[in-house]
Symmetry: C2
Subunit: 322 residues, 2 copies
């Protein structure tokens, strides 16, 4: 039976993985900086009284620690790992942790970065995305084991290099959050009545504003970490430049320029009709769900919805041929 | 039977209203600049051969013309309207059209601005939002008639003043679109592989990117109109300032500042938990819908989804207590 040590295993994510790997047949031991032995007991796994000794005896060491602590933990524990064992992490960035793991773990220790694209509140892994970043030439034995394990449980496993990972996340996570958090800050600065605006909502705005609220409801430190992706800076700067340029065009009545920006972006985006269909479908589900939840609201035309019928983000008045 | 003239009534929105009001018992006549009599014939309504004469004889004149043509049309037609008749428009902005209607229609003509928050592709009006902007002291007779009519068909009717309307739309429509269009432009400038990024998506990103694609799929002129709302300029400028400030904080490692921005925005936003619940539910519906559409994909854990399980926008690794 493989022995796994989870460093930070009494935390939310760490204990999620402790339960997961225990279910999958590993003999799991956890360790946490605040020494919460009761968390280990609850889960029915061991607690590492002597951290370094446990590292020396483990087949897999999984690091589930805040990203700003990752490097120092690797530096301390890495050199103690045994021949043929595996060092893993679960941080949302990959370049820096991979560099540190490759540097501080002995050459005969394998290295596998992971980025689970889901939070520790989920029950199963089915349908979720698990990104794996295996060290080149240093993950021959363990990559197939871990990949098969996650896939057997229904996860979508994606394999990429550390730089490519961080580049993609600079857009997928950092830019998305950045735009939404800035909208939240704008609503505050304008002292905009968010609750009051719900009466005038289009579904596009309604969904957008709920995602702004969703992000603002969570721990700001997590979002700060994601922005600190070194590759996110260029993405943010580009976004700000595009915002300024688009605003200037509108301010100066340069309609031609505005239209060109949209057309060029549309051409680059490509699968727009699919996006339109998917968002139509999402809006449709949302309206239907609302109707079902509030049977007292609405009128006799309710049955008339079609996917097309929900495209109400743009007021239609300008569509006339006048 | 009330006679209604729809100027621009051969266009998409205009003909939607022609059909709607015909069904609701009006004797509808349309007119369009390109003289498409066949559209009127198809709908079984009249076509105004002599536009000015028709204006003089109509009980309601509804303008469904591009916003940049609205003022000149009002100037030309308004003075010809008969005593006790109603002048309506359906533009996405309200201050300017209201000002023009009040100026050019005789004092004994009533004035009602409207902004249907839906496009002309919808079949029914049930569950949709119809914003009404009645002229103060000049809509006593017609406001109750129109309001009752829309409400009877299940629409949510909201009544506001023209300035308040444009102020709200500067956020609800203009800011939302502005942020999304700028993201589209950023993806193009970065030459980001949108299709390829789908493999690494979180649901938050997936939904966001579909709304970007949705907007890029539509007519840029319509989005230019909405940005030309005079009150949108301050909103865009504020947004850009917030973006720059947030980016600078991150660039300079000012984590405290970043966290404060998020916390202040969160406090202003208020109903965050509700937003979190609603977005959880939306994500849940999306995942379930995907599963149903692709029965071949996924694994044995599929039944494990809960609302909480789908909060995968933020990677969970930093949630540990290490």
């Amino acid at each position: 039976m493989n022995r796994m040590l989870i460093v930070g295993g009494t935390g939310e994510t760490g204990s999620w993985f402790a339960r997961y790997f225990k279910r999958r047949g590993f003999r799991v031991t956890v360790w946490g900086p605040s020494g919460k032995r009761e968390v280990a007991e609850e889960m029915g796994v061991g607690y590492a009284e002597d951290l370094i000794r446990e590292v020396k005896e483990s087949d897999v060491v999984l690091l589930s620690v805040p990203i700003d602590r990752t490097a120092e933990v690797i530096e301390e524990l890495g050199p103690n790992m045994k021949i043929g064992s595996l060092l893993m992490d679960v941080a949302s960035l990959k370049s820096e942790p991979m560099r540190a793991m490759l540097e501080h773990a002995p050459g005969d220790v394998e290295v596998l970065g992971t980025h689970p694209m889901f939070g520790p509140t989920m029950k199963g892994i089915g349908g979720q995305t698990m990104i794996l970043v295996p060290a080149k030439g240093r993950c021959e034995m363990w990559l197939p084991i871990m990949r098969t394990l996650f896939q057997e449980d229904g996860a979508r496993v994606e394999i990429v290099g550390p730089e490519e990972h961080d580049q993609i996340m600079a857009v997928v996570q950092a830019l998305t959050h950045f735009a939404y958090i800035s909208i939240g800050a704008t609503l505050k600065t304008l002292d905009f009545d968010v609750a009051g605006s719900r009466s005038f909502m289009s579904p596009v705005y309604e969904i957008m504003i709920d995602f702004v609220g969703r992000i603002l409801a969570q721990n700001p430190e997590l979002y700060a970490n994601i922005q600190e992706n070194p590759r996110a800076r260029r993405v943010r700067d580009t976004y700000i430049k595009e915002c300024i340029s688009l605003a200037e065009m509108t301010d100066h009545g340069d309609r031609e320029g505005f239209v060109k920006v949209m057309k060029d972006a549309a051409e680059h985006f490509q699968a727009r009709e699919e996006a339109l269909m998917r968002s139509d479908r999402l809006i449709e589900m949302k309206i239907k769900d609302k109707d079902e939840q509030r049977p007292d609201v609405g009128g006799r035309d309710r049955g008339d919805y079609t996917a097309d019928a929900t495209r109400r983000d743009v007021d239609g008045s300008e569509r006339g041929r006048f």
